[in-house]
């Protein structure tokens, strides 16, 4: 009977989920908070990380996931953050990161002074949400320019996240978008979602974000 139960466990915990769980525990033991940032392309993830670096400096580390280019790692590196670039392009152009990629990256990173580890996942509001990378917090970034209906159309990214950062709020005066409708649609698919509104350009909401990070550590 015991044997049968173990077999079921093995089936449920596939390789990706097993590595993810090990990573989550390993980083927790080291006192490092691990946040997985997901979003559509161009929602402002990298800019938010640049702004985060101004507050946390060398205490944060970013693993950048992109199909091609090291542009994002170069950007956050210039902001004074330890950065590591994963390019999936040469390996079939994977549209998401999996926990094995993160484990390999972490093995090469000096985490001794790191308090927060970010993964900036590949810009894609669909596939990354299907794969546990081992983060303590999954955060989805949604730019106000993307429209009010995205949480309803791409529910998994919102259902599988703890936090939603609504970005580029400085553009609201120029859009036919009501931010209250965005928030209502987020809560329709995930009533417990923590929501932070941010404009990296004007600085609005950056203190809320930094406070959230402090409290979550």
């Amino acid at each position: 009977m015991d044997t049968k139960e173990i077999k079921v466990m093995k089936k449920i915990l596939n390789v990706n989920d097993r590595i993810a769980e090990e990573l989550r525990n390993e980083l927790k033991e080291k006192g490092i908070l691990f946040i997985n940032l997901m979003s559509s392309p161009g929602s402002g993830k990298t800019t938010i990380l640049e702004k985060t670096a101004e507050k946390f400096g060398n205490k944060i580390c970013v693993i950048e996931g992109d199909i091609r280019t090291t542009l994002d790692a170069e950007r956050v590196s210039r902001a004074g953050i330890q950065a590591y670039q994963i390019n999936t392009g040469p390996f079939g152009g994977d549209c998401h990161l999996e926990s094995g990629w993160i484990k390999s990256a972490i093995d090469e990173i000096d985490l001794s002074n790191i308090e927060i580890l970010f993964v900036e996942n590949i810009g894609n509001l669909v596939c990354p949400a299907e794969f546990d990378v081992g983060a303590h917090i999954n955060a989805v970034v949604l730019s106000v320019t993307e429209g009010e209906d995205k949480p309803l159309k791409y529910p998994l990214a919102f259902q599988n996240s703890h936090l939603c950062i609504i970005s580029k709020t400085d553009l609201l005066p120029y859009l036919d978008i009501n931010i209250e409708n965005i928030k209502e649609n987020i809560r329709k698919v995930n009533p417990k979602m923590k929501i932070i509104e941010i404009s990296a350009k004007s600085g609005e909401g950056l203190n809320d974000w930094k406070e959230y990070l402090h409290k979550s550590r």
Copy 2:
């Protein structure tokens, strides 16, 4: 020798590509232009289709691809277009459309008065570009809010497209974005790309788009 060659052909033309090729020929024979619109979520595909309806009215038909909701089909339907919604959510939440979905949709659509058939693919700048849906023209829509570097970071969608619509150009005055850099990056990955700049809000470029459609028929 002949037999061997046929075997190779079968291997190269997989099921998706075979159905796509059949669709492309079938629609060409019927005098229907088939355009596949791809982009990140929220780039403005549906709004462009609403504006296209003002010019072409009941001569166009739209197949909407979404993981969940019939919101887009309802929107284009209100604009007077014959619309058909594919939801991949109940079938595993596929992140892209394949030619088989389009074939099934076309079997249910009255194409007798249609001159242009659009597929609005699932909002995802990665995966849809990997799958031939049988279109005569693949068009990628890129909103200026997404940043200058997207063609470099997501090259396949740009390499596999004939046309790039740069959308939401009315927002340029409020962004730190130079549209010339976007165009330069597009041409780096696809030197032959036809580019049309559109603001559905101000109407800029809509005549270029309609002229392009007229010429392409």
